[in-house]
């Protein structure tokens, strides 16, 4: 009986700590429902008692194109990242390439390069190629956030596939490509999910590449949509926070549907700029 009471005590402390940690998230939601005339109230309302959906109406009116662009860029980044890194992971895990260790090291080092440096280099190159303010250009740049991490995840995961299985396929006459496509890739579904989730989330959240490479273009992602709101000295904070809430939805969906993949990804060497 006593120990039971103690676990509930810890749960209470845990709830309190989580509440403190997530307060900024609650505040974002609260402000997104606040009426314009209550925005400057002092002290501010702790609950959206006189809530309004005006902020969300503004999102629907003004931010849908940004959200669409972000969706396209996110999906493009996912496809590019998986297509590049799954074969590489297979080779590094199972085919023992000469020089594979060096490549692994380069991938590790690549994660350490600050995004702002990459952005400046991409800017110089895209300026010459005329790729500034283009969606494919931003997809390629965003994929650099995820590819090294993705190769590491795929390699780690595919190392766990039993060698006998691949040997058996080889005995049956399957080449390396066939083995990869029909055995390794289907067995690595979890790794594909993890990589896709992170690639999507990172490109959806990217601000550095967006602000340097597509700023002012006709297709801008949602991060720039929010940034322009703030930059214009906009006082409609309910609209800004409503956009922020909508921009957070992918993170929320991922957390609810795929929490175990997220924890796996963080632990396997989380990288975030």
């Amino acid at each position: 009986m006593r120990s039971r009471k103690r676990t509930w005590g810890k749960t209470a402390i845990g709830l309190l700590l989580t509440g403190i940690m997530l307060f900024p998230v609650y505040w974002m939601v609260n402000v997104s429902f606040t009426r314009d005339q209550d925005m400057r109230k002092s002290p501010p309302d702790l609950f959206p008692l006189n809530g309004t959906l005006a902020g969300y109406r503004t999102v629907l009116d003004e931010q849908l194109p940004y959200l669409g662009t972000s969706l396209v860029i996110g999906l493009g980044t996912v496809v590019l990242t998986v297509a590049l890194s799954a074969p590489a992971g297979y080779a590094l895990a199972k085919l023992r390439p000469r020089g594979g260790g060096v490549l692994g090291f380069v991938l590790l080092a690549a994660q350490m390069i600050p995004g702002i440096i990459m952005a400046m280099g991409f800017y110089a190159i895209y300026l010459q190629l005329g790729l500034l303010q283009s969606v494919p250009g931003l997809i390629v740049a965003d994929s650099t956030l995820a590819v090294p991490f993705a190769v590491l995840i795929f390699t780690a995961f595919m190392s766990g596939i039993p060698g006998e299985l691949l040997q058996a396929a080889k005995t049956d006459g399957a080449g390396a490509l066939r083995t990869f496509w029909s055995i390794v890739l289907p067995m690595s579904r979890n790794a594909v999910v993890t990589v896709s989730l992170f690639a999507f989330l990172w490109s959806w959240s990217d601000f550095v590449f967006a602000s340097t490479l597509v700023n002012g273009g006709s297709y801008e992602p949602i991060t720039l949509g929010i940034y322009h709101y703030i930059g214009n000295n906009n006082q409609e904070w309910n609209a800004i926070m409503a956009t922020a809430v909508v921009a957070s939805l992918p993170a929320a969906v991922i957390l609810v549907l795929a929490q175990r993949y997220v924890a796996a990804g963080v632990t396997a060497g989380a990288v975030k700029d």
Binding site: K10, T11, G14, T18, M21, L22, P24, V25, W27, M28, K41, P43, A83, L92, L95, R96, P97, R98, G100, G101, V102, L103, G104, F105, A109, I113, P114, G115, I116, I117, M118, M120, G121, A124, Q128, A141, V151, A156, A176, L177, F207, V208, T223, Y227, I230, M241, A247, S248, A251, L255, Q259, A263, A264, V266, T267, A268, G269, V271, K272, D273
Partner: protein, 323 residues
């Protein structure tokens, strides 16, 4: 998934790369057809690394060694000036404050993220009701887009209408100009960045805690060790390898923090929250007349710092993998 409980130093990939240079080539000759297949699978990513990592980096070095103007940037005929851009950067009055802010920002963020993350990891390691769910919720700040976190903090720290000043007012403390006063802006971005970094520390340290055998705690408890002693005599020493990895990775990632600072303060007011990352962006993109050369030079200094600590990280990780 198989590596849910993995801690970083158990990652197979770096271990492999770590073993490769020291171990002699395998005795069995690898069939050359397999080598061809292997490199065929690696070709796309190798090409990709060359085009989209090595080349932008090279362009960045090139930028830092030439005297670029907007015109010569487009035409590509900027004169080679050697280390002139680096000299300009070192002599710039912004250099010393930017260096100081970068060091303070990184150090303070690391200490608090690690301490809070460790405390939470120890707390959640006790497995009470709902602990798994609550631990998952702690990931939220880490998953949110940085622009969302940064703009939310901006509004919370707003001088007139922010909830933080309202709360301070309630306990009798006068309003603080969090983002608009030079003496507080660095503190503000540090607070926001700690909030974002805690989840990473929590998750990695928590997985490290799980690999400490419970029998050790039971033995310590039998010997009459208090909870406090068990933490300092058992948990903390056994967690040292994971702590080293967490801190080093945190260091590399905190050095390059840009979004948060830029969105909240743009490095201001009066450069009071300028770090190397925001200074580099400011030089290259923040002004009407871009100074690409000096901007790239500042960026390259940042790359060198990140790579130095990155190499230390790889070394530590290798040593742990071998032992």
């Amino acid at each position: 998934m198989s590596h849910t409980t993995q801690v970083p130093h158990r990652r197979p990939v770096p271990r492999k790369s770590g073993a490769a240079p020291t171990a002699p080539p395998p005795q069995r000759r690898r069939p050359s057809s397999q080598q061809w297949a292997a490199w065929a699978f690696l070709a796309p990513v190798t090409l990709y690394l060359a085009l989209f990592y090595a080349y932008p980096l090279y362009r960045n070095i090139d930028l830092s060694l030439r005297n670029y103007t907007v015109r010569s940037f487009v035409q590509g005929d900027a004169p080679f000036t050697g280390l002139e851009n680096y000299r300009i950067v070192f002599d710039d009055p912004t250099f010393a404050p930017a260096l100081l802010h970068t060091v303070v920002f990184t150090a303070v963020c690391l200490v608090f993220q690690y301490a809070i993350g460790l405390a939470l990891a120890v707390f959640f390691n006790q497995h009470f009701r709902l602990s798994a769910t609550l631990r998952a919720l702690f990931l939220v700040p880490w998953l949110l887009p940085l622009i969302v976190s940064a703009s939310t903090w901006s509004w919370m720290l707003n001088s007139d209408s922010g909830i933080v000043n309202a709360a301070l007012h309630a306990v009798g403390i006068g309003p603080v100009n969090w983002l608009t006063s030079p003496s507080w802006s660095l503190t503000s971005v540090i607070i926001a960045n700690i909030w974002i970094g805690v989840p990473f520390n929590l998750v990695v340290l928590y997985s490290g805690l799980q690999s400490i055998p419970t029998s050790l705690y039971e033995a310590a408890a039998l010997d009459g060790a208090s909870a406090w002693q068990r933490f300092w005599r058992v948990t903390f020493p056994l967690l040292r390898p994971v702590s080293a990895i967490t801190l080093l990775l945190g260091l590399v990632y905190t050095l390059k923090v840009f979004d948060i600072i830029w969105i909240m303060t743009k490095g201001g007011p009066a450069e009071s929250s300028t770090t190397f990352a925001t200074w580099s962006y400011q030089l290259g993109f923040g002004n009407l007349l871009p100074a690409f050369g000096p901007g790239a030079a500042v960026g390259n200094l940042l790359v060198v710092a990140a790579l130095v600590f990155g190499l230390v990280y790889v070394r530590v990780q290798r040593k742990q993998a071998l032992s």
